[in-house]
Symmetry: C2
Subunit: 361 residues, 2 copies
């Protein structure tokens, strides 16, 4: 088991380094400043690396803007930049992350994601093979979500001395009439649902960055949640609020929920979906798993009467098998988030103050 | 209404200028890694620096996505990342550039820009006063264009040793029925119109970066073109193609036009709107002004019969006073772009091969 884990961490590192050491051998192709200059080399980069991987009917005309058909309903619009280091980690890479992050920001609004933009800011010297790998991931995740990359942009910046790539994705989606997430509608007694194992993304990135080998491999949970959210909403249950617990983790979302609803939250430690591997790794590192980023989980506030039904729908979905009801809203004032510990005690859960794990998403 | 908008633009500009002179002190506040961590410091950065400057009804709810009302027509969607160095240059800064670039990518599709996203990737150590200045510029340019910043994201990355800030903007717009730019519709005899003085943006950035003092100051032309394009289209003239000549300059756009229309282009050197200052600076630097980036100009292909009328509308707009008809399409094969020089000769105009001026937009 430990050997497996070490191997995975090693493999992921090697993939990243492979490109590194070959490049010392002068013939590995790398991105040049001129690839971002808007001239022939830019066209070549797009024609040979980007477009064949992302090809679709919206992107193909390569105009200044993509043209989408008229959409029936309100429009959702969101953006996110991704700065993860290393670029490749167990369970994913920056490409998968960039697609899932933006798809999920639309999904948790209850919107159907329609199209993504992809803004690449590449450091000079990035191996083209690594760029290709990331673009393959973008394409795979976009296909998994069923959302095309409709428009994009590529810039090249000076080398910082490590493989560097920043990705921005923006996304548009359609919000059907009759659904609006609104923490203001939450009432005492409403349930908090978490769609699966927490803290995996942050710990996966950290493990490969720090060269740590945990007992069991921890893989990033990065996944597009639009299908899962659709399944939850299709129950007809009263889902009052949805959020993906990324930066700041579950603790951040719960703190926001208390603030925005004006209600307190009681969370049962024993009910939190935390794998043994995550608990072990977090303890080893002195980190609170509740503050660690997830990239394929959703937190839902659901009317008490509908909670079990929504939970069942969640568990029936491949991305929600480990879903759990973890707590409920109460009228206790002032609005705070309390963890009812396994030992029978109470501990305050607060938003992480600064930066625990830089550049994990 | 117009007075309100003008006042907003004026106030924002004044704020921009004020911060400039205050910003020297040594114990100047700077951006920390933790400002990007998603915790309390991120909320503080947003609450004290970003949101007060960009406030509008779409942004205010601060949900995972902005919710826009249903839009009547096809949707245009575009993205662009901005990596200019230095961040501030004569005539503008990265904030103004980031708004104008994306507004213009929508405008040249014939679309009415509706909303922008703003993705900030800030290097640790960036003075907060400089960030504030850039955000004021974003606000001023957005007010000038009449397009709100509806959604955003902020990340912080490790310091590279210089003031560093990368901005991605994406934009959505509405494309009215009945208008589609289409280089395929261009016919021999159609005219090429350029909306004003060329090469100012690239030379302005280069001048401050290289510490060059030209005889006359060259200021970036960065400006939102949606109003100008609206004026051109309102003539009812047959405008077949529009493009803003940014990276790659006019030469890049003309090369694309020849390729996409299958026609040749004859451009008259004497007709090109080039200021004396630009000609002098370009000569000094050994650069071809046709390959230098613009950020507030549009190139239009117009049916021969409508060319004068569209030109007149362009000249009547404050951003199009120096507009000129610079050439026409011909059936000469193979499709090439030729410059009819002042001396009576012919010179081939081609797309710049690599990168002449890195990080100018």
């Amino acid at each position: 088991m430990i050997e497996d884990l070490k191997k995975t961490a090693r493999d992921a590192l090697e993939k990243t380094r492979a490109t590194d050491s070959d490049a010392a051998g002068a013939d590995e192709a790398r991105v040049l400043m001129a690839h971002g200059g808007g001239g022939e080399l830019t066209r070549e980069l797009l024609a040979e690396h980007v477009l064949p991987r992302l090809d679709n009917a919206l992107l193909r005309p390569l105009m200044d803007s993509a043209v989408l058909p008229p959409l029936d309903g309100r429009l959702c619009f969101t953006t996110d930049s991704f700065v993860v280091a290393p670029l490749v980690f167990p369970g994913g890479d920056i490409g998968r992350l960039a697609v899932c992050g933006t798809v999920n920001d639309l999904a948790v609004m209850g919107a159907r994601p329609v199209a993504l933009s992809l803004g690449l800011v590449i450091e000079e010297g990035l191996p083209l093979a690594l760029l290709d790998r990331v673009l393959d991931s973008v394409a795979a995740a976009a296909a998994e979500a069923g959302v095309p990359v409709a428009t994009g942009d590529t810039k090249v910046i000076e080398r910082r001395g490590e493989d560097g790539l920043i990705i921005n994705t923006a996304g548009v989606g359609v919000l059907p009439e009759g659904f609006t997430v609104d923490a203001g509608r939450i009432a005492a007694g409403d349930a908090v649902l978490v769609s699966g194992h927490l803290a995996e993304h942050g710990l996966a990135v950290l493990s490969v960055r720090e060269g740590l080998a945990f007992e069991t491999e921890i893989r990033s949970d990065a996944a597009p949640l639009n299908g899962l959210v659709e399944a939850l909403l299709a129950t007809g249950g009263d889902v009052k609020f949805l959020r993906d617990p990324t930066r700041g983790g579950l603790a951040g979302v719960l703190a926001d929920l208390a603030e925005d609803s004006g209600l307190s939250l009681e969370i049962e430690e024993a009910a939190l979906p935390l794998s043994r591997a995550v608990l072990g790794a977090a303890e080893l590192l002195g980190l609170d798993p509740l503050t660690i980023a997830n990239e394929g989980k959703v937190v839902a506030a659901v009317a008490a009467a509908d909670a079990e039904r929504v939970l069942a729908a969640c568990r029936a979905h491949p991305l929600g098998r480990h879903a759990a009801l973890v707590g409920r809203f109460t009228k206790a004032a002032p609005p705070l988030v309390e963890l009812l510990t396994r030992g029978g005690g109470r501990r305050l859960v607060s938003r992480p103050y600064g930066e625990q794990l830089p550049r994990i998403c």
